[in-house]
């Protein structure tokens, strides 16, 4: 029968081994040779876009890379699906956008901020998502 000290050894040993493997896999998957995000394309505009995305808590309604709140559309492929002009008109609109009855806050962005968010969406849209990009936005693939 298992003793308490054996149970403790199982807990401590199992935790240590799996944590070390986890760290190893983290280093491996984030190493530059395994990059799937076109990291070299992240410029000042993309970073500014990410800041605007976060400071307005866009993820509190939308999803991106499949993460968010499921209240408003998934935006991973929005650049490809809707195009620059459509996105810009929503971001700069002085009146709330409300397609099919669900309202969005009117952010009234200036051109520079809207362009930064668009650059961020463009960068997001080019990430290799291990096949999810074809499921999340079939409309863009059908074009």
């Amino acid at each position: 029968m298992l003793s308490k000290s054996q149970a403790r050894a199982f807990f401590l040993g199992g935790t240590a081994v799996t944590f070390l493997i986890f760290i190893g896999l983290t280093v491996y998957s984030l190493s530059p040779k395994n990059d799937q995000t076109n990291h070299q394309n992240i410029d000042e505009k993309v970073v500014r876009g990410k800041e605007i995305w976060e400071s307005n808590n866009c993820m509190g309604c939308h999803t991106i890379l499949g993460e968010g709140a499921y209240y408003a559309p998934e935006l991973t492929k929005v650049y490809e699906r809707r195009g620059e002009g459509y996105i810009k008109s929503i971001l700069t609109s002085p009146i709330p956008w409300g397609p099919k009855g669900r309202k969005m806050v009117a952010y009234k962005m200036n051109n520079a901020d809207a362009d930064a968010v668009i650059a961020y969406f463009k960068w997001i849209g080019e990430i290799n998502l291990n096949g999810f990009d074809q499921v999340v936005s079939p409309l863009s693939k059908e074009k």
Binding site: F22, L30, M59, G60, T63, E67, A69, L129, N130
Partner: protein
């Protein structure tokens, strides 16, 4: 109650109740918005309501864990809390940070990162607050007459939870790296170290409520938390399938997250077996209901419903849909909310010296809240599966799908009303018990 300083736990539990009510109110705002009744949109848009709803969940559970620690550690260590005044300072500062964060969310003062919306300046205050809490707990444990496995596992959980908050404070230019390390906090909290906290509280409650030998219970506690980390750490990979990192996570995350239900199954079997082996003579039946209930519902919510969409082949379609909300609600309810309500149900009669063990309201609170939450989970599940088929298979537009599934949110609101009634009854009971008193010290009702 055996030590006067345990009384501080009561005020943490009271704050818990207040924050839980607020969380439910904001949940209703979101539910009504989903069926088109969004009259509060200009004041409380959906993203504000959601940030408040999820953050209040985290804060009230952490407040409950802290209250549990202030109740459990003195009793386990056989030592008064080293500084009660500082514990109250910690409670008040925690409440102030929470209020500032919640009010700030209504004025675009946030970070906009799912679950970690608290702005950076407040992050530092959270760190100071948690350090003060840990200092008090560790010093009490250090000075204590004994260092039990239950106390050590609980304290380890709280300590690691604090350490794991730090990766979430690092800024990354890349959304992918940001998401990667955000899951270090969120996943390794809820599917890792929080399970240590849950295990510690569960172990304490089973020792007290069943009368089974401590050595037996604590041995199995080690096995359960061992299984938790063995599967949960590498199980983090199920969040990395489709966010833009290497495919190796499809294999590693798939295998280890499929093993995660084992820890919850072990916890459920453990709780049921200890209850069967026990004397069944403890008068506080409500605490037993909540304790055994937490172990069973967490297995269904976190274990079974988590497994339902954890394999990469399934998650390819369910990732980013309401299926996640289905799993999330019952998992948090079973694993963490119920265990906090269990320790409150156990501690309150001991802190106040009053017995309301046979209260009808108390029993109704348990059943209504659980039936309500199972109904809510079902509504989310049906909406989520329908969303997957219409949006991901039939390639319908997002809002067309949302309109099709809105009826399930009417069901959600009805079930949430049942759930809220249960919680109101629980809080009514909490208030009826009155405030803690030193007279309860002699009563020793444990």
């Amino acid at each position: 109650m055996k030590y006067k300083s345990q009384k501080v736990a009561y005020w943490f539990f009271a704050l818990c109740m207040l924050l839980l009510v607020l969380q439910i109110v904001y949940g209703f705002i979101m539910g009504f918005a989903r069926v088109g009744m969004d009259g509060l949109h200009d004041v409380i848009p959906f993203n504000t309501a959601r940030a408040v709803h999820t953050n209040l969940l985290v804060v009230w559970l952490l407040t409950g864990f802290m209250g549990a620690a202030y109740y459990i550690i003195p009793e386990e260590a056989q030592q008064e809390l080293v500084n009660v005044k500082l514990a109250y300072v910690q409670l008040i500062s925690l409440a102030v940070v929470g209020v500032v964060a919640v009010v700030g969310y209504h004025f675009n003062y946030w970070e906009g990162r799912k679950f970690l919306e608290i702005p950076r300046e407040l992050d530092f205050l959270v760190v100071v607050n948690v350090l003060l809490f840990l200092g008090l707990i560790l010093a009490t444990l250090w000075k204590g007459k004994r260092k039990t496995t239950t106390a050590i596992v609980l304290t380890m959980g709280l300590l690691f939870a604090a350490l794991l908050y730090l990766p979430g404070m690092i800024w990354f230019d890349s959304q992918v790296t940001d998401a990667f390390f955000r899951w270090w906090v969120v996943h390794l909290w809820v599917e890792g170290v929080w399970e240590l906290i849950m295990g510690g509280i569960l172990s304490f409650l089973l020792i007290k409520l069943t009368g089974v030998d401590r050595e037996v219970i604590e041995k199995w506690l080690y096995v359960i938390v061992g299984l938790t980390f063995l599967s949960g750490i590498l199980g983090t990979g199920h969040h990395y399938y489709y966010i833009g990192v290497n495919k190796i996570w499809l294999v590693v995350g798939g295998i280890f997250s499929a093993l995660e239900p084992l820890a919850f199954l072990a916890m459920a079997l453990f709780a049921i077996n200890m209850y069967r082996k026990g004397e069944k003579s403890h008068p506080n039946k409500l605490a037993i209901f909540w304790t055994i209930g937490a172990a069973i519902v967490s297995f269904i919510g976190a274990g079974v419903l988590g497994f339902a969409h954890t394999l990469p082949q399934t998650n390819l379609y369910t990732h980013g849909t309401l299926v996640t909300a289905m799993h999330g609600h019952l998992a948090f309810w079973g694993a963490y909310a119920m265990i906090v309500l269990a320790i409150i149900s156990y501690a309150i009669p001991n802190l106040t010296g009053r017995k309301r063990h046979e209260s009808t309201q108390g029993k109704l609170a348990f059943w209504l809240s659980n039936i309500g939450m199972i109904g809510m989970t079902t509504a989310f599940g049906v909406a989520g599966v329908a969303q997957v088929y219409m949006e991901r298979k039939m390639k319908m537009e997002f809002m067309d799908v949302q309109n099709e599934i809105s009826i399930h949110f009417v069901v959600l609101i009805l079930c949430a009303t049942l759930f809220a009634t249960g919680i109101i009854l629980y809080i009514y009971e909490f208030i009826k018990y009155g405030k803690p008193t030193d007279e309860a010290l002699e009563a020793k009702l444990s």
